[in-house]
Symmetry: D3
Subunit: 163 residues, 6 copies
């Protein structure tokens, strides 16, 4: 409980931005890779549900498709976690955004959850948390963001930099 | 339709060989890796069909074997595509064989098809297209080819350089 | 030479769009991964040039940085090629855009060139060719594109979907 | 049969230790990575058996979990083999322990067996063979070993260096 | 600054342990992989320094060895980060140890630093932070720890579970 | 010394062939992948020597090429070892060819040596040992072999199955 209290305290307090610290070491950081990966997780969950609602469930075609969807889901949930971890470790330095440690830990757990289950809600939670991260990230660079539907299924609303 | 016409046109026209362009940059290119990978795809399809024709379909041994076959099929279809892409991108230069762009695109699609399905015909089509590529490749090096059965199951007829 | 003529011919002729063919099999295709990878290639070339223009060239720090830049350049040039190849093989079907086979082959060669050299021009050529691909890709989906500078160094002008 | 006889002969004969040969080239060799990997193989077999003994066997959650366990089992059996192979190839030199070639070959086969099956006995055999290897390895370094239960399920008795 | 204050506050407050939350989902977590990887980073820095202090600095043998050391350093710093991230994301749940988010973020930064430099101090800092993590980890499992020198160069003092 | 004696003893004694044991489990084993990888090692050594004999040794182009050659050498020496290890572990069973354990151990050491050095002799030794393995392998399948020069530089004499 104490952490919830501290977190609320944090949010009311001033903090310096991250961007000053990464001018030289940081190269190209972009959360879009993690966002696409998270969308792919949800897409695979949808394909899995669709396949499982079909009639034949034990022929080679069924197993072939099911395994492929699960494998792609695994890889992309892992990719989403990896890309967020890299930005967090290499871009965010001291005096970083007060939510970012907790948010990243939450993304790690949601990424694991999305691997462990076929439940679409778990996939959506991962997408949302990564969108939240994208918003914080672009904020530290003073790049405005907008929301728009992804131009492919599952056409979820995503956070994009407004370039 | 226009492409089919153009393709036929191409085949009747003279073209210069590729080999002059790769003397120095090109190292070791050999389509045999892609050929063995394509054979492995068919082999896995055969093992999948054999397993699925058995009696027990829902114990751990069934799932263990089925998943392993599918995974190996995935990896080798992908490997076949990757190796062909490397030779195409790094070895074939301007004034290349007129069929090669289209053939490579066909191999990419057949490789994807062979991942998406357990249908043996799709695997055989991949093997044949890659044999066609091997024949063109060795032709650009003025190395004669021969056909012989692979010395392991599935003992399909393959194109080999006649060394 | 014949190919150049045929290519010009192609460009004047009507062709059906690709999108009709990928409604069901195609999942999430997005050239942004390849675009970011190509930008990273140029960024690494810039860092390499900067390092080489420094004074000390033979201590462990120099070698450590130089090797890391080259390795990242290699990986991202390869990633750019791989991502384009996947979209080309899995998304573009028959009656595809007439330039796409040749453009993809060009991207493969430019990707290889960008690995083989430290010359910034080679990196820029790769970025441009992939932007051209992105424009064609979004066109097949009837998604408008815009040009904007990437929000990180090297702040090259990139093609983005106008969502 | 002849090999069994020769092996027995070997065991009775004096042999020089390996450690003299690896003072300079060898860096950090530690069989604990292979041991943890082998434990993971058994753990996955246990989870597979538990899942298969449940009621629902054909929904997406079942397939999702089963595939993940099998994939982790595959990776860790392979990792165990790889790590042992590296130590064997890079650390053990001429006049090496007389059992080590045969033991390593046995580990390779047990690792393959543990991939091919869901049978717990095969996993235990892999763990035991790798513990035997660990004992020989630490012996060549004159580091004493002890036996203790691993501090996580499956809490098998493992060989540890007594530091 | 506010974070430093909050952190100190945290340390004085009661918190529930993590272990209650991972009985079922958690499999085998062991920080020893990360510890060995961090030791390898320091070992490579030592080999780099030794090589650079030699006489010949521009022949193929020099480049061959230098590149190999740097590559191994890169891989093992990355591996250390990856393994810690997995334990953090999959094992530590809510009401976790109050230092763990910050410590993990520090490890990520130290891991990046150890990749970016050849400075031995950066490697030692990584080893120490991961030992600190190991101590916390074993504490949540009520497994006692001890300190002992690693049985290979660089023979740094490491935290081991006292089994 | 005892092993040399035993080895000679072995060679004079009858032994059963391996092929009977792999009818069902073994899929597609082919040493050609390892052979091409070993050739690539020698090719890279040649390119390294050529580059180092040039005039400019400290610009970005030099480092870019040198690192790429070394990396490819590393990967292919490792690939050669991996492929031989797989055939040895999965194909050769009990009553196997008496030389094969020792030969495989020798290949592992030669593969490591070829990574550690830029010395062409080390690369040639690896090629020869793998050719020796190929000869034994095809012998167990009663497939005749022939010797021919590889159709690309370095055009070393290789063992091929006579199909």
């Amino acid at each position: 409980m104490i952490y919830q209290i501290l977190e609320k305290l944090d949010k009311k307090l001033h903090f310096e931005q991250a961007q000053a610290h990464c001018d030289i070491p940081c190269g190209i950081y972009d959360p879009s890779g993690a966002q696409i990966a998270a969308l792919t997780v949800v897409r695979m969950m949808d394909l899995m549900a669709e396949l499982a609602s079909g009639e034949t469930k034990d022929n080679t075609e069924f197993h072939n498709s099911m395994e492929r969807y699960i494998t792609v889901k695994e890889e992309h949930a892992e990719k989403a976690k990896h890309e967020i971890r890299v930005i967090w470790g290499d871009y965010f330095k001291q005096d970083k955004h007060p939510n970012v440690d907790d948010l990243v830990h939450r993304i790690m757990q949601l990424g694991s959850k999305a691997r462990q289950t076929a439940d679409r809600e778990a996939g959506l939670a991962l997408v949302n948390a990564i969108n939240e991260f994208a918003e914080i990230f672009w904020g530290t660079k003073n790049v405005k963001t907008k929301k728009a539907k992804a131009p492919y299924a599952p056409a979820l609303e995503m956070v994009y930099p407004d370039l």
